[in-house]
Amino acid sequence: MAQIESYLDWNATAPLRPQAAAAMSEALRRWGNPSSVHRRGRAARHIVERAREPVAALLGDVDPSAVIFVSGGTEANHLALIGAGRERVLVSAVEHDSVRHAVPTAEIIPVGPEGIVDLDALDRLLGADLRPALVSVMYANNETGVIQPVAEIAAIARRNGALFHCDAVQAAGKLALEAGAIGADLVTLSAHKIGGPTGIGALVVTGGIELAPLLRGGGQEHRRRAGTENLPGIAGFAAAAAAEIADYERVAALRDGLEAEIAMTARDAVVLGAAANRLPNTSAIAMPGVAAETQVVALDLDGVMVSAGAACSSGKVGPSHVLAAMGVAPEIAASTIRVSLGWSSSEAEIDHFLRAWTALYRRCRRLAEGARAA
């Protein structure tokens, strides 16, 4: 019998939604270059322009022309931080690497023990230096799911004359977002985290600010992003965005059940950021004394797929900068795995995870006791 597999790594990438597959099939049939003047080009252009609406709608009432299609979240973050051209860039200590590394001179905004931005520190940092600034803070963290007080961050930025960029890659599609409530001038979105294809994302310029392009060339995307548009990618992104926000209350219940079960099984297990407002699908769980890589490999052997942090760095060793910034003890951080669910996650998958996790936990504890006894 083939082994049962449970995919619980949705924050790394989500499976393609059927609606996205259908839209991409249709776009592949209309394969023209959207910049061409002839009718094949015009048909392709139509797909691109129509696609802006559902993508903009991920952020509520936003003008579709605010959407710039790019190759993904990483590029969108770079376009925002570099393209805005502000002398100072301030990023939170728990940002994704694509934000942390976009500008080498970026200043770090500290976070508290739950991973939430220290608002007073942000205000002080902005007030201490009056050069034009941009603040970049993610909506929700990819490793812990912790949600930031974005509206307050936006207010502080605005009060200090700074722009606010929000990386909403992990939050979009899981929560109903409202651009007005977020208050950001620039918002990053990614398709493959919401059931669209990889290779496509968007920067939404809600503030009407000028951006210097990162990629120069043809005049695509109103001269803000050159390069022939990824037509099927854009169509798939739009279809995934238009799909109803699935029942994340159900997902939250599954996740909460999982955490409760673990708390009962293992008194020493820790859920990071548990006291904070979190995404409904994410759980960062430490099994103290057992290296995260060991857990991930052992769970994989049992057919359960999770990760030891962000996928892009999961091949690398070294502690998570997110957990370090939260002040998590290094031995706890080194034993933390990320479990992330999605709209089609089932109770059977959670049970599968719990069986495998519990078996591993008991095996490791028996080994540790054996070592002590000997």
Binding site: A2, N33, S71, D97, V99, L215, V296, A311
Partner: protein, 411 residues
Amino acid sequence: MTSILADPRPRLSFEPVVNTPPVYLDNQSTTPVDPRVLEAMLPYFTEHFGNPHSTSHAYGRVAAEAIERARGEIAALIQAGPREIVFTSGATEANNLAIKGAAHFARAHPENGQVRDHIVALQTEHKCVLESCQELEREGFTVTYLPVEPDGLASLTALEGALSERTLLVSVMAAHNEIGVIQPLAEIGALCRSKGVLFHTDAAQAFGKIPLDVGAMKIDLLSISGHKIYGPKGIGALYIRRRPRVRLLPLIDGGGQERGLRSGTLPTPLCVGLGRAAAIAGAEMAEEAKRLRRLRDTLLRNLARRVPGLCVNGDVEQRLPGSLNLSFPEIPALTLIEAVPSIAISTGSACTSASVEPSYVLRALGLPDTLANASIRIGLGRFTTAAEVDFAADALAAAANRLTRQEDIPT
């Protein structure tokens, strides 16, 4: 793999619709995905959807292995090694990365206290090369925009004269997107190597259509596009020589993918598609070039016989097999294009085709505005049939003659 996901995995379906009207003769602009390419891509949209960087579990590993296979297929087509290929979102990004990445590295790493801060590019390069150069000029670099000969080819003497000790990089398009001419890459490469200058070539139009050998041609950086070779849009690659090592600073940093040169989750299906498209193009290149050349020559013969004064822009011999750029005397190109709605053709680069300005490329060839404004670009491709070519010749010749007669009528 079996899964206990509650929902069945979605299916992508696709029936190739390539030979439907209008007759598509704009294959330099973009090409349809070859059904064989799509077939290779489909499983990576659905059952193998894992993040290729999540190598701790099976879903990620399956994706990562597919990407490495594709990297090998791309490298093989230009006689490079797989580790010399970096995936990008397309040729525009590859060109931006090659030029700005090399320049920014040179600025950060002076050689013996001397910064190489000079770049040479042809006046006829693609917009994304020219605009990358202009951005560097604003940053303090110097750029020489080298004129071309009337046939569109670079003059090696002029190129040699433009090089100095400060020259960092030469960028020359391998095969031209508007006029189709193929540059003497091996000669340019040898010249650059002898002067210690990096040689970058934008091969978006050439890759998969003519033989390219980065070793023999001494190419250091080579830009590749997926959607010009019957692969998907949204994917391209940059070849970056390892021996001697070419160093670049990344444009897009973050997760550290692609050995730190290009961060961002790799789109597995698109990478697989580019790999398969490269493999097919390589296997069929010789036969396909012969077929396209035959079709192109037939088209040109039929048109020249019936349209007096028709001229071919760009060198007639050194050109891509399926590519033609023609001036129809006295007929504005847009008027001609509008008169033949049954054919999809363009005046030039799609990126600028909505512009009414005459092509800067044709101006660089020395064409007067009247002829530059009267020129159209024709690109035959893998799915173009002999019947379509005959139809196009008839339609274009009839329209041209009708429009000329109308102009002759005194008002």
